[in-house]
């Protein structure tokens, strides 16, 4: 979870002014969570750490590009991490065999499986909205997020025609947009 007390935007702005202490605070605050995501995407610890290294180097160098008027500091940090992780996956060209059971489990979580009211109170809107999607639309979105798979890879993985997968994902994202507006 994002630490509500932690001022991500303020730390990034301090980084932009060359404050190495702010950079360290950011690292302490977020590096373990970021490594969790990098490892899930890349499947190899060493490569995940390399990716985290590259991401933090970019965060420091590009901190002056961050503008709080465009969005949250935490989202900005993860956009950098994901971008670098996805690049690595594309360069590598293939996916390691990983245990996807947690993705299948999340895909199985329909509206009944989740405490909608609780999630709404907690501000977990995406989970609630994903729960409202049909499983066939939810599953490919989860594979894209957690494994960084392309349309092609998802189609192969789910043994479904490419056009169908593209349509389901697009429809799923449109439905999420509608749901997230509320």
């Amino acid at each position: 979870m994002a630490d509500q007390m932690f001022d991500y935007e303020g730390q990034l702005e301090s980084c932009a002014r060359g404050d190495e202490g702010a950079f360290q605070r950011l690292y302490r605050q977020e590096s373990a969570k970021m490594l969790g995501l990098a490892l899930t995407l890349l499947g190899q610890r060493e490569e995940a750490e390399d990716c985290l290294h590259d991401a933090f180097v970019q965060i420091w160098r590009n901190a002056d590009n961050f503008q709080r008027s465009l969005g949250s500091g935490r989202a900005w940090i993860y956009s950098i991490l994901r971008y670098r992780a996805l690049n690595r996956l594309r360069t590598r060209g293939r996916h390691l065999d990983q245990d996807d059971s947690f993705i299948d489990r999340l895909a199985d979580e329909g509206p009944d499986a989740t405490d909608q009211l609780h999630q709404q109170r907690e501000g977990r809107h995406l989970r609630r909205c994903l729960g409202n999607l049909e499983r066939a639309r939810r599953h490919p979105i989860l594979l894209a997020f957690y494994r960084g798979m392309t349309h092609d890879q998802i189609a192969a993985r789910l043994v479904t025609p490419l056009g169908t997968i593209k349509g389901r994902i697009r429809a799923g994202l449109r439905a999420l947009q509608e749901c997230l507006k509320v």
Binding site: L35, A48, G71, S72, A75, Y78
Partner: protein, 238 residues
Amino acid sequence: MIPEQPEERRALIGEYVLGLLESSDAAEVRELIESNQEAARMALEWEQHLLELSDELSEQTPSRALWLRIQRSLGHVPIEQMAVWRHWWDSAGLWRLTSGALALVVLLSWLSTSLEQDPALANESFTAVLQPPREAASPGWVVQVDMNGTLRLEALVDQPIPEDRSLQFWTLADPEQGPRSLGLIQPGGSVTLSADQIGVVQAGQLFELTLEPAGGSPLDRPTGEVLYIGRAVMTVGS
């Protein structure tokens, strides 16, 4: 290929953020995000929502080395390294070791006679005896700064180093600024540096020799083992 209709555009940006797009389409969306604030905002909104999925994952503590690596890549002085410098800087023990060693007394008396001093000049000169860290009374090198500010570093022992390594000479006047390289040194040799090269020397200033990769430290600070270290002590000229 980028749709004008905002909701279509938002969905496409969602696909981009998820990493679903082929490289040419992805490049087009990336360009849009970089040039259009509304698109940049949409991308960060998706990213923000997707953080909920990231937060489902268990944390993985990075190895200790990673933080140091990041700092090295950015040319930041690692905090740990600063702490080491501070430790030396603050170490009263080193003072006692350095100034209390009998060898030093002998050396100083030898040095004061060997310094070529013009008695008419100002009388501030310095000496630093460099010893292996934590080893009492085993001087390996000596630094002399004469009253013109010229520094001479001279070996007292001829300790060989591995062929693929270099011996690098450093000084630290202010821990906040970090160490400064004074160049590579031949083992067992000597070197003279002008006042312009070393700057103003102060009492207590730290000098050290470290073992670095061939050609010297790849960074603007020591990366290898400290072989010899010592502080400048003022010697009063006649």
